[in-house]
């Protein structure tokens, strides 16, 4: 009787082991299937046009079967770079202030608020952009620089994205800055350094790999963001010449046209190729960033 009970327990354990292995494999399989599916669907476009032509041509005439992704790639990069350039300096300064200068109870109240905003869906940031940032850029910012714009432009997209990634950036940066050991700061202070010298030369330097990691993560979040950007960026196929020109990032291209392009097989293929492009860029940069992080970590510690 006892023996049979033991056999049952072991059998259950083995079953659970099998199930957990199976589920793990199937989750990984999804990743492989996404890559294969996108690759397979991209074959028609890849065989009809050279890859250099696809990436660097700016002729976009789907009806004539000409697909140049250059305007979309440029728009994606512009919007992302604007977002990161605006948000990173603010976030570094604010997180340093919260961890090194502000009273602890401040931090305790602000961190949950930032957590909440990190969970806010991107469509909420999008609607805020339409209500607040579009008129601001159209009526105040653009005239101040002597431009005319509808407000739906690269800069608006960049600003909305910048605000969207702030909670993500702050969350990680605060976490990283907190891990800097207090002994390190005490040592520097006791050698006569001012508070700011300690903060900038010791704390920030020690936390640099983590800060870089946060920036990379925010970059990806911004790079693949669809809805919030789609709502404010104007969606016109052109290479933007100024910040106040409309743009058309890759995710917006897919969102706007996918699903209704089934009648033109090559268009379908082109859109899935752009999804593949987005995927490759994100995964590629991700690996590159990890490699760089490992190098810098070794250099600093």
């Amino acid at each position: 009787m006892r023996n049979r009970w033991l056999v049952l327990r072991v059998a259950v354990d083995h079953l659970a082991a099998g199930v957990s292995r199976l589920f793990t494999l199937s989750v990984l399989l999804v990743l492989v299937l996404i890559i294969l599916g996108l690759l397979y669907k991209s074959i028609p476009i890849l065989t009809s046009q050279s890859i250099l032509d696809l990436l660097f041509s700016s002729v976009w005439k789907p009806m004539k079967g000409q697909f140049g992704f250059f305007p979309f790639i440029v728009s994606t990069i512009y919007v992302t770079v604007i977002a990161i350039t605006i948000s990173v300096p603010f976030c570094i300064l604010a997180s340093l202030y919260l961890t090194e200068y502000a009273p602890r109870r401040w931090t305790k109240r602000i961190v949950p608020f930032i957590d909440l905003l990190a969970g806010l869906p991107s469509v909420i940031y999008g609607i805020w952009g339409v209500i607040a940032i579009v008129p601001f850029v159209r009526d105040i910012l653009a005239p101040a620089f002597g431009y005319e714009t509808s407000g739906y432009c690269i800069l608006t997209g960049g600003i909305v994205l910048a605000v969207m990634v702030i909670p993500v950036l702050m969350n990680i940066m605060i976490e990283v800055l907190r891990t800097v050991p207090i002994e390190l700061k005490e040592a520097t202070l006791s050698l006569g350094a001012t508070k700011w010298e300690t903060t900038s030369r010791v704390v920030l330097r020690k936390a640099l790999p983590g800060v870089l990691a946060a920036v990379v993560l925010a970059f990806f979040r911004a790079f693949g963001e669809t809805i919030a950007v789609l709502m404010v960026v104007g969606n016109t196929v052109m290479i933007p010449k100024s910040l106040f020109d409309p743009g058309y990032p890759l995710p917006a291209l897919i969102a706007n046209n996918y699903g209704e392009m089934m009648s033109i097989p090559k268009y379908d293929s082109a859109l899935l190729f752009s999804a593949l492009l987005l995927f490759v860029m994100i995964v590629g940069f991700n690996w590159l960033a990890r490699f760089v992080l490992k190098r810098t970590e070794r250099y600093i510690v």
Binding site: R9, V12, D13, A16, A17, V19, S20, F23, T24, V27, L28, L31, I34, G37, L38, K41, P89, F90, L93, A94, Y97, Y101, I110, F113, L116, L117, G119, L120, P121, V123, I124, G126, I127, W128, V130, I131, V163, I166, P167, M170, T194, K195, W196, S200, G224, T226, I227, L230, M231, P251, I254, A255, G259, M262, A275, L278, F279, I282, V283, N286
Partner: protein, 285 residues
């Protein structure tokens, strides 16, 4: 003179940091206030208890019940499905796997999936639907969103399970527990607040994501009666109705925005209350 300069630098950067801090908080508050002010004036009982009349894009009457119901069906279905999938994977990573290399590569693959934009999941979901001959439906939406949030849930569960000290494993096994018994009776009990947080994280992501449901769940004026009908969702209700030329329709977008924000707020508070509370089986702290 030099000391004075150093002091000035300290003072200057301190002020700069203050300005950065204050402006970030101001902008973030500004978002919440904008959404609330625009939303409150368009909220009414009809808004949240009626479906749109005469088409969601042109009809002036009715509310957003279609999107509220659709979003709940979709998010509940997807997060339950993802939960059932995620827990065994988290057990695999922490209890079952004997190879450290496997664990490391599974984790990094999951991190890659976490970073994949939701629009790619949406496009992939649509691809699979076409291949299987499925139509735009609640079921297709649920499956796609499940794929999107499973990596998030697994990694969130995994992170809390990793904090459990190795001694506890050894204690459990030395008392004769099988790996399954240890997983369910010891490990799960120990980390269950973290598991709840992981579930809510996935639910929040599921209810807020627009790009993945765009081609898969579609949009409709009606509350779906079966899994095979299309379903409206709150993010898409905002996105589609905001671009309408008719002011009454735009009001529905603002109302949907405040409803979605309140849902996210409740989820966030719930995960703080439930997840933050220490379990009675916890030995640390």
């Amino acid at each position: 003179m030099r000391t004075l300069w150093r002091r000035f630098k300290g003072w200057f950067f301190r002020q700069l940091m203050r300005v950065a801090m204050v402006s970030i908080m101001a902008v973030l508050l500004f978002i919440v206030i904008t959404i609330v002010i625009r939303g409150v004036s368009s909220l009414s009982l009809d808004m949240i208890t009626q479906t749109p009349k005469g088409g969601y894009y042109f009809g002036r009457e009715g509310g957003i019940l279609n999107a509220i119901a659709g979003s709940f069906y979709l998010a509940a279905g997807a997060s339950l499905l993802a939960f059932v999938l995620s827990l065994p994977v988290a057990f695999y990573l922490n209890v079952y796997s004997r190879s450290k290399r496997n664990v490391r590569s599974v984790r990094s693959a999951l991190d890659v999936m976490w970073g994949v934009p939701s629009i790619i999941f949406g496009a992939f979901g649509f691809l699979v639907m076409m291949a299987l001959g499925m139509k735009v439906s609640l079921l297709a939406g649920i499956i796609t969103v499940t794929l999107l949030i499973t990596p998030i849930m697994v990694r969130a569960m995994d992170e809390v399970m990793r904090t459990v000290p190795r001694d506890l494993y050894e204690a459990g096994f030395s008392l004769g527990a099988t790996r399954w018994e240890f997983s369910v009776r010891v490990l799960l009990r120990k980390v269950y607040p973290g598991i709840i947080t992981a579930f809510l994280l996935g639910f929040g992501r599921a209810i807020g994501d627009a790009a993945s449901v765009m081609f898969t769940a579609g949009f409709t004026d009606h509350i779906p009666n079966s899994l095979l009908e299309p379903a409206a969702t709150l993010p898409l209700a905002i996105f589609y109705q905001l671009s309408s030329p008719i002011p009454e329709v735009r009001e529905r977008a603002y109302a949907a925005a405040i409803v979605l924000t309140v849902i996210i707020l409740i989820i966030s508070l719930a995960s703080r209350l439930l997840g933050g509370r220490l379990s009675k089986h916890s030995t640390t702290d």
